[in-house]
């Protein structure tokens, strides 16, 4: 199939090498363990594999055949046709990391444009070429802050309203690392505490404060005072931001964030059962050299022609070896390209329009749900496109009924927060029409009446 050799060519090649058979090439492998019999089904043709994979895919119920109110870190947005059409240019997707700039200018310029778009969207000075996803980008913020203070500040203050899986990943990266301690707020007031309640936790041992914007419950806070208090203590503020929301609400750079990270999936990347997604990471000029991950910079060739190269590579693992602060090697190349095309296509007007549609529809949904007996909108603060509904019975039960009616209900917050049993996190995007929302509200009403 994908091996082009004819029998005659193979013979000729073996002869040129000076061995008499293919097996002779593997003499260094211990004989006892050489050529195991693999118990795998026989290979199939392309026609058969497509049929088999189609069967697997049809055992799923995709969001495209349902009406979805599920978000919690992955969002159902419209992806314009241009994006996949360009992503399928195989000059992009069958290339590798642009180690040879002379023949990788396509990838390099696209990454440079990605960095520019992310810097401008977040209100920061510089962005890297991406991390694996929002969760690992958040963890890398912790790693960067710890090394920024050369290990002298050992506390990370983590808001309980940061995505629970991001908090888990941050802990996997740092909990047992040297003497770092991660303090999660919300011990007294629960997960809904306000950011001001994190302030007493910040001290001169604090390296980093991490909040989400809008937070995991969809709430929008102005983190200006938190940023001031963080800086008064000499610490850094990391903001986990939703990129769609940044089309409508203030950039984190405006209220003093030092690091802005987030999940780029809403920017033209399919839901795809959780990956591949895109972690973005932006920071201030003075911290650029502390940032891990690939970076593309502009330069010129001998003739003065503009071009792009990977730069500041001396920070990276293959050069600094064990002194590097991160081992990241690949980025999410193709996903950064998707986001770059998405942001270029939507531009200033499109992103604002999408963000506004999400906002309007979510608020309509919340207003309608607030009229349903037994259900309560928990969010008191402004919110973006997600909000918390307190339900009169278990979210699982409600969602099962929803599913029978072709609706994918919201996220069951009780899974991560025991205090939030019977609380549903509802996400609304431009993909939800007024009719969808009305049908969803009607099903909640029926659920409340049972």
């Amino acid at each position: 199939m994908f091996i082009p050799h004819t029998k005659a060519e193979t013979e000729e090649m073996l002869k040129s090498i000076g061995v008499s058979s293919m097996a002779d090439l593997f003499a260094d492998v211990p004989e006892k363990y050489r050529f195991p019999k693999l118990n795998l089904p026989s290979g199939v043709t392309e026609m058969e594999v497509l049929s088999e994979l189609t069967d697997y895919s049809q055992a799923n119920e995709p969001v495209s055949e349902l009406v979805s109110f599920l978000g919690a870190g992955a969002y159902n947005h419209y992806i314009p046709a241009v994006i996949d059409s360009l992503l399928r240019r195989s000059e992009f997707y069958t290339a590798y990391t642009p180690y040879q700039p002379e023949i990788s200018q396509g990838t390099l310029q696209a990454v440079f444009e990605f960095q520019s778009l992310i810097s401008n969207l977040t209100g920061m000075d510089a962005s890297n070429a991406s991390h694996y996803d929002g969760a690992t980008a958040t963890a890398e913020a912790g790693v960067m802050a710890y090394h920024h203070f050369r290990g002298k500040r050992t506390r990370i203050i983590l808001s309980p309203a940061v995505h629970p899986q991001y908090r888990e990943v941050l802990c996997s990266y740092l909990c047992n690392y040297e003497n770092i301690s991660i303090e999660t707020g919300g011990k007294e007031k629960g997960p809904f505490e306000n950011p001001s309640e994190l302030i007493p936790l910040i001290d001169d041992q604090t390296a980093l404060v991490v909040v989400q914007y809008p937070d995991f419950f969809g709430r929008i806070f102005d983190y200006k005072i938190l940023a001031e208090k963080t800086h008064e203590n000499g610490a850094l503020l990391a903001v986990v931001a939703n990129p769609t929301a940044l089309g409508l609400i203030k950039a984190p750079g405006e209220f003093g964030a030092d690091i802005v990270v987030g999940e780029g999936q809403p920017l033209g990347i399919p839901l795809s059962y959780g990956g591949p997604y895109l972690g973005f990471f932006a920071t201030k000029k003075e911290l650029v050299r502390k940032m891990s991950g690939r970076l593309v910079g502009e330069t010129t060739d001998a003739q003065g022609r503009r071009g792009y190269v990977l730069t500041l590579t001396a920070r990276e693992q293959h050069i600094r070896r064990e002194k590097a602060t991160s081992n990241i090697c690949t980025n999410q190349g193709l996903m950064t390209l998707a986001a770059t095309i998405y942001l270029s296509l939507l531009g200033k007007h499109g992103l604002k329009q999408i963000a506004n549609l999400c906002y309007q529809k979510a608020h309509y949904a919340a207003q309608q749900i607030s009229t349903v007996t037994g259900f309560e909108i928990v969010n008191k603060e402004p919110f973006f496109h997600e909000f918390v509904v307190k339900c009169p019975k278990s979210v699982e039960e409600i969602n099962n009924d929803m599913l029978d009616n072709g609706i994918l209900g919201g996220y069951d917050l009780g899974i991560d927060y025991p205090q939030l049993k019977n609380h549903m996190l509802v996400a609304v995007t431009e993909m939800n029409s007024k009719d969808d929302i009305d049908a969803f509200v009607e099903l909640l009403r029926e659920a409340g009446n049972d």
């Binding site: 994908f2 082009p4 073996l14 090498i17 593997f26 003499a27 260094d28 195991p36 019999k37 693999l38 795998l40 089904p41 497509l50 055992a59 979805s68 000059e91 992009f92 040879q100 002379e102 023949i103 200018q105 396509g106 440079f112 520019s116 401008n120 510089a126 991406s130 996803d133 899986q165 996997s172 047992n176 690392y177 040297e178 102005d222 089309g247 839901l271 795809s272 990956g275 591949p276 690939r294 010129t300 693992q317 293959h318 070896r321 602060t325 991160s326 690949t330 996903m335 390209l337 770059t340 296509l345 939507l346 531009g347 200033k348 499109g350 992103l351 309007q360 402004p382 599913l403 007024k434």
Partner: protein, 487 residues
């Protein structure tokens, strides 16, 4: 020709895509939160399509030609993978849907875990790690957690041969372990005497790339592993070079305790200009409980009428979660497609021809390039890109000159233990004709290095840009089209 940036192409008021008007009553965003300045470009759909199409033509790619980057396994990426991974039932499912609605995905992931177990000889596999580097991080973390769980806190050192992959030392440091390098012997194997000296009760483990980055299979691999095990350490296998071992031998059988796979190398998923990768981790029986959570399991066995119910479970002593959700699912679909098409026989053929191709190129050029270790190689090999009688020419020049012959250069200056290294991995998908052309180019360049070295020094001559000023890039640090004010 220089392609303008999207910011240079922008024209105020231009719109690339329109969305429907809102169909709900208006709600006002509180003024204090409204963003007033959104510096994004304004382009039409045609602008965007032409811009990125132009950019694509400035890339070299596998679909353009041979891409012999050592240790990167740049094999042909079958087109069917791009079709299966985009099936609506895969592309449009939300990671937090109830498991009953995603049985297709879970069944596929379960099968992929089983396939990888069979191919590698490990007892269990987690698909969660996002890339090889993250797989390594997980592997070393598992080793660390294993010792800690046994109350063995003095194991703080990790042994790394100087022929290992470049990410290994940083990975160990991220886990708070001290890195102890081990030299290679005169045949490119781990220096056994040195290993014996270093193996004591402070050793957490050894990170072994086998075949290593020289492209040779360690002739003493069983003794190496046994030595570490006898000292109470565990052995981590860097699976980046697994392409050479498919159906040839199983790392689990050789005694490795844990290993990561690179689905984007071995199983043909596209490299995407630098990602996404996917780095599942396989472990021996004593480490199963430490895998990152969650993994896919059968939670209700099949009956005669009903298929099994697949679900997500958390291993008892898990090192935790290293990524949101379950891994790079779209990449898994591609790898699964590839493995299904090959079966056991097909996979073995992959390894055989990958090794054949590497040794064939070597047989064609070995008289003109210095070979630091004269023995048989696996799927890649390393030569020196320099000659004592052509003192001005370096490996970099050879690499750049290859572009003039329409080839992507090999990995250069790695591994660090070979002077002026050129690390060549052709993969199995290249025909004899392509390999001959490549070998011819290398031979011609060896000749040019002596007859007209300036041709190499000034190369490449026919690319969209010439050699770029990397010092200037690092000094001026222009990272953004809309530049923050310079220093």
């Amino acid at each position: 020709m220089t392609e303008p940036t999207i910011y240079e192409l922008s024209s105020a008021g231009r719109i690339g895509v329109q969305f429907p008007e809102s169909d709900v009553p208006a709600f006002k965003v509180p003024d204090e939160f409204i963003r007033t300045n959104l510096p994004l470009p304004e382009l039409s759909e045609v602008d965007v399509v032409r811009h990125f199409t132009h950019l694509s033509t400035k890339n070299y790619s596998i679909d353009t030609g041979l891409y012999p980057l050592g240790s990167c396994t740049m094999k042909y990426n079958p087109k069917i993978n791009e079709v299966t991974s985009r099936l609506p039932g895969f592309a449009n499912i939300h990671p937090l849907q109830p498991i009953e609605t995603v049985q297709g995905s879970l069944a596929l992931m379960y099968s992929l875990q089983e396939q990888l177990k069979e191919i590698s000889g490990f007892a269990a596999v987690s698909l969660q790690p996002a890339a090889g580097a993250q797989g390594e991080f997980v592997g070393v973390k598992i080793i660390h957690a294993y010792h800690q769980s046994r109350g063995d806190f003095k194991r703080t050192r990790i042994l790394i041969p100087d022929s290992a992959h470049g990410t290994n030392p940083a990975t160990s440091a991220m886990n708070g372990l001290e890195v102890i390098p081990i030299p290679s012997d005169s045949r490119g194997n781990v220096d056994l005497a040195k290993l014996h000296d270093l193996c004591d009760e402070t050793v957490a483990g050894l990170m072994l790339t086998n075949p290593n980055t020289l492209g040779v299979f360690d002739e003493n691999v069983l003794e190496v592993i046994e030595t570490v095990h006898r000292a109470g350490g565990l052995v981590y296998g860097d699976g980046a070079n697994l392409n050479a071992l498919l159906g040839i031998t199983r790392p689990g059988d050789l005694g490795f305790d844990v290993m990561h796979f690179n689905l984007h190398k071995t199983f043909s998923t596209p490299h995407g200009g630098g990602g996404p990768g996917s780095g599942p981790v396989g472990v021996a029986p004593h480490l199963v409980d430490f895998l990152p959570a969650p993994i896919v399991s059968i939670i209700e066995e099949a009956t005669e009428e009903i298929p099994p119910l697949y679900g997500l479970t958390i291993p008892a002593k898990t090192i935790g979660r290293v990524k949101a959700f379950y891994g790079q699912f779209g990449v898994m679909v591609r790898a699964f497609t590839y493995i299904r098409m090959h079966g056991a026989e097909g996979l073995k053929k992959v390894a055989e021809y990958a090794v054949l191709n590497a040794n064939y190129i070597l047989s064609r050029i070995r008289d003109k390039y210095t070979l630091p270790y004269d023995r048989s190689y696996m799927h890649e090999f390393v030569v020196e890109g320099c000659w004592s009688d052509a003192p001005d020419v370096h490996a970099l020049d050879v690499a750049k000159r290859l572009m003039d012959y329409d080839f992507h250069p090999p990995t250069n200056y790695f591994p660090l233990i070979v002077h002026e290294a050129l690390m060549i991995e052709p993969t199995e998908t290249e025909s004899k004709q392509v390999l001959d052309k490549f070998a011819d180019a290398l031979l011609k360049i060896a000749e040019e290095a002596h007859s007209s070295p300036e041709l190499l020094k000034e190369a490449p001559h026919h690319t969209p840009v010439g050699r770029l000023d990397e010092v200037k890039a690092a000094k001026e640090l222009v990272l953004c089209c809309w530049l923050p004010e310079s220093n």
